[in-house]
């Protein structure tokens, strides 16, 4: 039943994303980096462990809050759906005028598979770099996205366009076209968590990182840019987010990338040791 559908969808996603990963690792990362990674993975893991641990805790927190969140939101949250609707009206319906079966299939694919791939691949790609800072920054930026996003979800109760204008969005609405995906998204989100769009912010985060690392991965940047833009548009096309959510997602991405640069040092272990020794950090340790 529902559990079986979820398992089936998860398997599908795992297989497709796995394939995409295999192809893109071969295409973008390359043999030399993989060989080096195989040799140096221990110290890299050691250096990245704190950032990774933080991300794991944040994801766990995200899971816990999905249960507790609605109760807290009901008490402290602001109902904002009407405000968003008043501000932007039926803007997201512009995508309905260009809707075709192929586009709907494309954006549905992007929203589920493309997004998962877009988030996972940079993890692999940056782990394969000889320096670990980019990888640590990426993990930190992911954590920040989730933490800040979660705080907004608690404070702002809003339903997405599909819940306000169901009839107008019937043609492209994700869950009507591909009902099986709701089992997946239901596992990770609630229908009042729309502001900001975490799909957009995480995709944009990856996009910005791709831009910053374009000297290491020159061909990944255009791919990431197209995917990230597609993810942002898909959230509106499929009726899941308001344009305001997407804009807020973009801002959040910028803030998180910036913060990750400030928070993550170049030599974390050395800094940590110095911090423990209560000695002030030397200037060259800072960004």
């Amino acid at each position: 039943m529902d559990g079986e559908v979820l398992t089936r969808v998860l398997t599908q996603v795992a297989v497709v994303v796995g394939l995409l990963l295999a192809v893109s690792i071969a295409a973008f990362v390359g043999r030399d980096r993989l060989v080096a990674t195989a040799r140096e993975w221990r110290p890299r893991i050691r250096a990245s462990a704190p950032a990774f641990a933080v991300l794991v805790v944040v994801l766990w927190l995200n899971r816990v809050m999905r249960q507790a969140g609605p109760g807290i939101s009901e008490r402290i949250g602001l109902h904002m759906t009407e405000t968003f609707y008043d501000l932007e009206g039926e803007f997201v319906l512009v995508f309905q005028s260009i809707a075709t079966g192929e586009l709907t299939a494309y954006f549905s694919f992007i929203y589920v598979y493309g997004y998962a791939f877009l988030l996972i691949f940079p993890g692999v790609a940056y782990f394969a770099l000889s320096e670990t800072r980019t990888f640590r920054r990426l993990l930190t930026a992911y954590s920040l996205n989730y933490v800040i996003g979660l705080a907004f979800y608690l404070l702002i109760i809003a339903y997405g366009p599909r819940n306000v204008m169901p009839e107008e969005l019937t043609v492209t609405m994700l869950y009507d076209n591909s009902p099986e995906y709701q089992h997946l998204t239901r596992e990770v989100n609630r229908n009042t968590n729309v502001f900001p769009s975490l799909h957009t912010s995480l995709a944009a985060t990856v996009g910005i990182f791709a831009y910053e690392t374009r000297s290491s991965y020159p061909y990944w940047f255009p791919v990431a840019a197209v995917l990230a833009a597609s993810v942002a548009i898909s959230t509106m096309y499929l009726g899941i987010h308001w344009a305001i959510d997407v804009v807020a997602g973009l801002v959040l991405a910028g803030v998180c990338v910036r913060l990750s640069g400030t928070l993550v040092g170049r030599r974390p272990i050395a800094r940590l040791r110095r911090y423990l020794d209560r000695r002030p950090a030397s200037p060259d340790d800072r960004e």
């Binding site: 529902d2 079986e4 759906t81 169901p166």
Partner: protein
């Protein structure tokens, strides 16, 4: 700035000057203080600004669409409208428990018998929380009629009800909109007998004929609340789902509008006295015996969830109207009871349909609930707030397991009286009933198509009905419907206390057009909240609303005519905005 009361002399000069300016400089300087007062002490009459509470599309697709149409016509007549969407349980909490609404759009569970209106509208319930009078409506004439129809039977009752419904149509404490059709999608290769009893009642899931080797009935249910809370007294989590009826027996059960014996072997009604005899040897799922003491306890709890322990009585938010008909209960041994009722035979039998609760589980729940760190409203006893997991009833199925938002699994209760020799009642024909939660109609249908479920147990949303494609092993099942969509007014708040205003608002609704547009034609427009059988001739739908005809045609509102109606009702316009004193 304040309302412009004359400035005290110690205030700075500039402020006094401003105040003088607002009051009208000429008047102020002429020294006619009295006239200043009469001008500035009149409260400003503002544009009417209202909030419509409803469910998002995930909870009620038709509800939000209706709410948006209602908002559009109200805005056309100069009202400032905002829509407040709440999840299922928050919506019911706002409307039924806290009365935090101006207007709401939603589905009323309704009933096959019009007596539900007693609970819905009697003025003594205006201050209570629950399905009892959420509108805060008070009308002594209607109260008299509501009480009179309870005591009457047969043609006399019909006549009273006709008068009552006419009064209701005139007063519009809520505006009934339409009765949506009830469709479900079922698999026919594993079970026979769908639709012999209504699938929103217990009988719809008993006595199905399973095929060979079929010992499990699987439903795809689009409402997750049954997996979160299994308390028959919690209003926010209950509506038309039949599963708690399978866990809890009632003395009588309804089939096609008729009341039949269930836990009661039989009964006899005589002039306000109902003598009931229970079936022998019935037990709850925890093996404790069920006797007349539990029955008497249940009705006492339904009248006061604190069992007399509170300062005043605090009735639970469900079954209020039925329990109120009971004046006294005499227990005569383990099996016999005598109900003293303020009701004729028709309503007396309805009283027997409430769930019978085990005293040994519920007696300790009659204390005020405590939630750490939260102050609990008076009357919120644990009986009302507990999630009641696991539920201990005496019904044909017992609770098995559940995972929130995934499933509730019930197991057959082998000791149930329906399984006895000599009891000719529908019984559980499978060992397990699994209610799988699947939040959308489209995917619930898909589950039935792919043999993942046997029935979509919640009512399907109307937008999927055009695309429903019954194949060889599946079919569409239509059942009689008595739920209705309505626009509820909070008559505690101005201007909704004014029946003229409510009538004018009801006239903004083109019910015929809404049925076509919002429900894709799968609904019947209605002017009255009762089933067709009870609808008086004068209120039957005749192509237009016989009570509050639409100001316009084909969904196009005649704004001029509508605004005139509001003006005729005593309201005024200024700059296109409807001004109301609140």
């Amino acid at each position: 700035m304040t309302d412009g009361t004359p400035a005290p002399s110690e205030r700075p000069r500039s402020r006094r000057a401003v105040l003088a300016g607002t009051a009208g400089l000429a008047v102020a300087t002429s020294g006619c203080v009295r006239q200043v007062r009469t001008v500035v002490n009149r409260e400003a009459v503002d544009q009417l600004s209202v909030t419509i509470v409803t469910l998002p599309a995930d909870g009620d697709r038709e509800g939000i669409r209706l709410a948006r149409e209602v908002a559009a016509v109200l805005e056309a007549v100069g009202v400032d409208v905002s829509i407040d969407m709440r999840s299922n349980e928050e919506f019911l909490r706002a409307v039924l428990i806290n009365h935090e609404f101006d207007l709401y759009v939603g589905r009323h569970p309704g009933s096959t018998d019009p007596d539900f209106l007693y609970e819905a509208l009697h003025s003594v319930y205006a201050e209570e929380s629950g399905w009892q009078n959420p509108f805060g409506y008070a009308n002594l004439q209607l109260d008299d009629l509501l009480e009179a129809q309870r005591r009457a039977d047969g043609e006399e009752r019909e006549a009273i009800l006709a008068e009552l419904l006419e009064e209701l149509a005139r007063e519009q404490p809520f505006a009934p909109i339409c009765v949506p059709e009830e469709h479900r999608f079922v698999r026919t290769d594993r079970f026979d007998g769908w639709g012999e009893a209504h699938p929103s009642t217990r009988l719809g899931y008993l006595d199905l004929e399973p095929g060979d080797d079929v010992d499990r009935l699987r439903t795809a249910h689009t409402d997750a609340r049954i997996s979160e809370n299994l308390n028959p007294l919690t209003a926010e989590y209950r509506d038309y789902e039949p599963f708690l009826e399978l866990v809890y027996d009632s003395l009588a059960t309804e089939r096609d509008g008729e009341i039949e014996p269930w836990l009661a072997e039989d009964w006899a009604y005589d002039d306000g006295t109902l003598r009931v005899r229970l079936r022998e040897d019935c037990r709850f799922h925890d093996d404790e015996p069920l006797d007349s003491g539990d029955v008497e306890f249940t009705y006492r709890l339904l009248q006061d969830s604190e069992l007399g322990g509170g300062e005043s009585s605090s009735p639970p938010p469900r079954y209020r109207g039925l329990a109120a008909a009971v004046e006294a209960i005499d227990v005569d041994g383990d099996l016999d009871l005598e109900f003293e009722l303020e009701a004729g035979e028709a309503v007396a039998e309805r009283v027997l349909t409430v769930p019978i609760l085990p005293e040994h589980v519920w007696s300790e729940r009659a204390a005020p609930a405590t939630v750490r760190g939260v102050s609990v409203a008076q009357g919120a006893t644990e009986a009302v707030t507990t999630d009641n997991v696991p539920p201990i009833g005496s019904g044909p199925f017992r609770f098995g397991s559940r995972t929130e938002r995934e499933h509730v699994t019930l197991e057959r209760f082998d000791d149930h009286f329906t399984r006895r020799e000599g009891v000719d009642l529908p019984e559980a024909s499978v060992e397990e009933l699994r209610v799988g939660i699947d939040p959308r109609s489209t995917s619930a249908i898909e589950l039935v198509n792919t043999d993942g479920a046997d029935i979509t147990s919640a009512i399907l949303e109307t937008y999927v009905l055009d695309d429903l494609e019954p194949a060889q092993e599946t079919m569409s099942l239509e059942s009689p419907s008595w739920t209705f969509y309505h626009l509820g007014f909070n008559t505690r708040r101005a201007p909704f206390a004014n029946a003229r205003f409510r009538r004018a608002v009801a006239g903004l609704l083109d019910k015929d057009w809404l049925v076509d547009d919002v429900f894709h034609g799968y609904a019947e427009p209605t002017a009255t909240p009762v089933t067709e059988e009870w609808t008086p001739e004068g209120l039957a739908w005749n192509g237009e609303d016989p009570a509050t005809p639409f100001f316009g045609s084909d969904g196009d509102l005649d704004v001029e005519a509508a605004r005139e109606a509001f003006e005729d009702a005593g309201f005024s316009y200024d700059d296109g905005a409807l001004r109301v004193r609140r």
